[in-house]
Amino acid sequence: MKTFPSGGIHPPENKLTAEMAIASLPAPESVTIPVSQHIGAPATIIVNKGDYVKTGQIIATSKGFVSSNIHSSVSGKVNKTDTVIDTTGYKQTAVFIDVEGDEWIETIDRSDEIVSEIKLSSDEIIEKCLESGIVGLGGATFPSHIKLKVPAGKKCDFLIINGVECEPFLTSDYRLMVEKGEEILIGVTILMKALGVDKAMFGIENNKPAAIKHLTELSKKFKGISIHALKVKYPQGAEKQLIKALINREVPAGHLPVDVGAVVHNAGTAFAVYEAVQKNKPLFERVVTITGKTMTRPGNFLVRTGTPVRKLIEAAGGLPADTGKIVNGGPMMGKAINNIDVPVVKGTSGIILFPANESERAEINPCIRCARCISVCALKLEPFLLMTLSEKNMFERAEQEGITNCMECGSCSYSCPAGRPILDYVRLGKATVNRLAQERKMQQTATN
């Protein structure tokens, strides 16, 4: 069975919510919709205080090349625009909407009927993705329309669909694949048309046999889509690792997947694309896994963006008394939130509640030179060295050692027997190196 060759770890899977069907969470009384739910420039708000907006109406337009549209997830009156601390832990501008009823814009097809005929042309599909605010739903939230435009001079051979969901605990993609398999495969066909490729490979880790079986069954009806079971290993859901596992091509450091002829989209994104293109429905709700070992009713919920995490926790049986940490995203790459009123955004794949005794960080001890961090690094970096370089402010050397290639999967910190905060320092180094590079670029343009 296929997998990527170098590095990787096997954290406990803990997929507690795998058999919980997706339930729809009703719209809350008020929502807070941040204008930056994607990588790139924040969107520009186009509604004013007191305006009445409908569900699915555009409230902020994309600004710049890498940006995305933001739509209202509810109908109601705009209360205010203000800053709010969102899931990133920083203050962001957000639109506050008081919910009144649930009136969707007329163009959205709300029927359950599956539309399989694709009427739009390639360019129209890309335009539709931009219009509907589709971003990568695997967690990185990169605007999808950019990935669909193959740059001139490059050729795309394969569309790769990421159904790996290698993060422990999370089951939102798995539930979508099991329940909305046909829609996802239509979405894949749409993406194939937009990219102009005739082969799509769907990678799923083999700890999800139901999804593999279901999609293999369905894929017989679709041309060019093949389903591949992959050996379980974290971080297989990372773009470069998945490409290596499926088509055995290595994306060189500093390059994009399209440079080796592949474009990767998440299974959840394929579903969002289906809804946008076939049903005219912009991206304003997503499946979120809410889970935790001490939760009474963990589950998978279809949640409107902007819903406070508090509502989600309430729907899952309330906040357990011993909660020590709440993580947005998966336990490996996710980030702890510091307030349960932060809104669910497009990139929220899961909310995990850890009991207090599991939230403590390990005691930090000196490095014992066991090199375990090096052996688990899927990108063949030397994490212990990168950590020390960041710690000692040696950022030029860190840059030479390839710190910016790190995808922050956290395998090094996870496997460190000395409990060293490797990823913490690597993140710091990466951010600083990127900032320094930016400054260098600015200086160069200033002198030229």
Partner: protein, 287 residues
């Protein structure tokens, strides 16, 4: 037997002589002429190599002093006027008077004033927690309390106060080298003009948020209410980004702004306790 010893001595002596002559000429040829005054100036510098002057070390600074035409913009904060005066004497120049500085922390967010809303238990490094999120409190400008500044101080002039969770600057040890200023990712340390008796009067806040959010995050936050600005007779106070700033070169320590500040964000250090007039009056009546 004796001739063997003799031949050895003579041949080795000759070899030594020839080598010495070669070495002499090589040394002359590759001689680096260095201004002798550099050594002299270096000798009077404090040899702390702290970088407070903006140069890599004391030797580099001594070289810069010898090469400089005037001393403008060159100052050793550690050696102060004394060292600069001596250097000027050696080099036959005039050392302009530079106000001695001292470091102050522009945050007073103790747990009492600024409640903790989350717990950060990652690596104890301000740069990391600053990169990661807003911090343990709701104030995105305030001290993170992981002690980067304390670790940066090579003069042992700073320590963390465990009760206030803020760094403390020991005035008589601080030489204003500025290492802590560079270490703080939130730019919370300012070098201010040193006053008599180590007196300090400044706005201990860096919160640029509007009054409401600032005060919700921290009860001693500057809200930019402009009360201090109105009461100041010397034009020492300016307000920018909802934050007041007292110019140490204009401030006369009249302390009118201190009693005027609604959130007690202006703090005074090393001043004699001032009894409010009403109390003095009451005491005299009782007496």
């Amino acid at each position: 037997m004796s001739s063997t010893i003799l031949i050895t001595i003579i041949s080795l002596s000759l070899l030594a002589l020839i080598s010495a002559v070669i070495l002499y000429f090589v040394a002359q040829k590759f001689k680096i002429s260095e201004d002798a005054r550099i050594d002299e100036v270096q000798a009077i510098l404090p040899a702390a190599n702290c970088g407070g002057c903006g140069f890599a070390g004391c030797r580099n600074f001594a070289e810069a002093l010898v090469q400089a035409e005037t001393f403008d913009g060159l100052n050793c904060p550690v050696g102060g006027a004394e060292a600069m005066g001596l250097a000027a004497k050696i080099l036959g120049k005039v050392a302009p008077f530079v106000d001695p500085l001292t470091a102050v922390l522009l945050c007073n967010g103790t747990p009492e004033f600024r409640p903790r809303t989350s717990i950060y238990n990652g690596a104890s490094d301000c740069r990391i927690s600053h990169n990661l999120y807003i911090g343990e409190t709701d104030c995105s400008y305030g001290c993170l309390g992981n002690g980067d500044c304390v670790r940066a101080c090579t003069f042992d002039a700073m320590y963390m106060n465990n009760a206030t969770e803020l760094p403390v600057i020991t005035d008589d040890k601080c030489v204003a080298c500025g290492a802590c200023v560079k270490a703080c990712p939130r730019n919370l340390i300012e070098l201010r003009k040193k006053a008599k008796k180590e007196r300090k009067l400044y706005v201990a806040c860096s919160n640029c948020d509007k009054g409401g959010p600032a005060k919700r995050a921290c009860s001693v936050a500057c809200t930019g209410c402009t009360k201090c600005l109105k009461v100041c007779e010397f034009g020492a106070i300016t307000i920018e980004n909802n934050l007041a700033y007292i110019d140490a070169t204009k401030c006369t320590f009249c302390r009118k702004c201190v009693s005027e500040c609604a959130t007690s964000s202006i703090i005074e250090i090393n001043f004699p306790s001032k009894k409010p007039k009403a109390e003095v009056l009451a005491e005299s009546v009782n007496g």
